[in-house]
Assembly symmetry: C2
Homo-oligomer: 190 residues x 2
């Protein structure tokens, strides 16, 4: 942030406002406080019989890697609506949302992922503008080494585990930087 | 948004950017797109034996009404950390976070609420700067008519129901405008 979106002043300072306890972008002219908050990334796990629909990314970051359809939640929608919309936009796929499956905190990117289980309604899907291709994968066909993000890898890993037991709950956890790569720390309910 | 936060121009237009499908604030000078996304409101249900800790609001909206400790999630934290921090800030109360309890979409205010069950660690609590008072309530003492928000009413209602069965899951649903007041539409997993 270089200029105040309320008054246009270039006197933006990074300081703790009165009565607050952390620094914010504050306008030196009109005193407007510009809050920045985490974003929700919402998507779905589209299932057709024993296969899962993945999309190959046509945009950075992680161009050419496989992902579940997901993206930033928009104003005016609910989280299941966001999951349905992202699945339609990225894979031209119609789904029925079944339940909230993973909630993953990524504090170093200021994001919270929410992935929903879903049922693919037909096989008339295909890449949207942000995908190179879309394809159904059985568990033994998942391109584990070519998945775009740790959130996707961990969501799929949990999903196949739960599918064997036929018991899906809602999984909560954090994606944190490990010594060599990102790791998933589950937070199990007590 | 009146001025561009990147270049300071006052030529902000509300239009659909190329390749997008919904209107955004776009700078007519530098073409910066200013996205706006829903915010996460995170809090906890602090439990001490058969009682719940509520806070009486010292700030608008709903000044003087009772609420569970909750507030906007901050960058750099996880959702359980946000719940713990809000409980400390609003009630000076230390809790152990137990599990994700309710996820409530409020599309008309561009918010998603996430409330966590928590265990109050001691009775050394008291109002923070945003609370007039903090008090423990048994179920039959809850001031149902003086609760601040539908998210709080519905979270408490679900909590007491589940406590009788001693089974807590994660509840997902939407807060929508009913004919006379806001209503909660649960979305049960399938």
């Amino acid at each position: 942030m270089k200029f105040c979106s309320q008054c246009g002043s270039g006197s933006i300072v990074w300081q703790v406002p009165d009565g607050d306890n952390r620094p914010r972008h504050v306008c030196g002219e009109c005193n407007e406080i510009h809050y920045q908050n985490p974003k929700l990334v919402v998507g779905s796990i589209p299932v057709w019989e024993d296969r899962i629909l993945l999309c190959k990314r046509a945009i950075p970051p992680r161009y050419g890697y496989w992902t579940l359809p997901a993206g930033f939640m928009e104003n005016g929608e609910t989280t299941p609506e966001a999951a349905e919309r992202e699945t339609l936009e990225e894979a031209n796929a119609r789904v029925e949302i079944l339940g909230l499956y993973t909630v993953m905190n990524i504090p170093h990117t200021n994001q919270v992922y929410m992935m929903f289980r879903s049922r693919l309604l037909d096989l008339d899907f295909g890449p949207g503008t942000e995908s190179l291709e879309c394809e159904l994968f059985r568990e033994d066909q998942i391109p584990w080494e070519e998945l775009a993000f740790p959130t996707i890898t961990e969501t799929l890993r949990l999903f196949f585990e739960d599918r064997r037991r036929e018991a899906y709950g809602t999984h909560l956890g954090d994606i944190v930087h490990g010594t060599r790569r990102a790791e998933f720390l589950p937070r199990r309910p007590r």
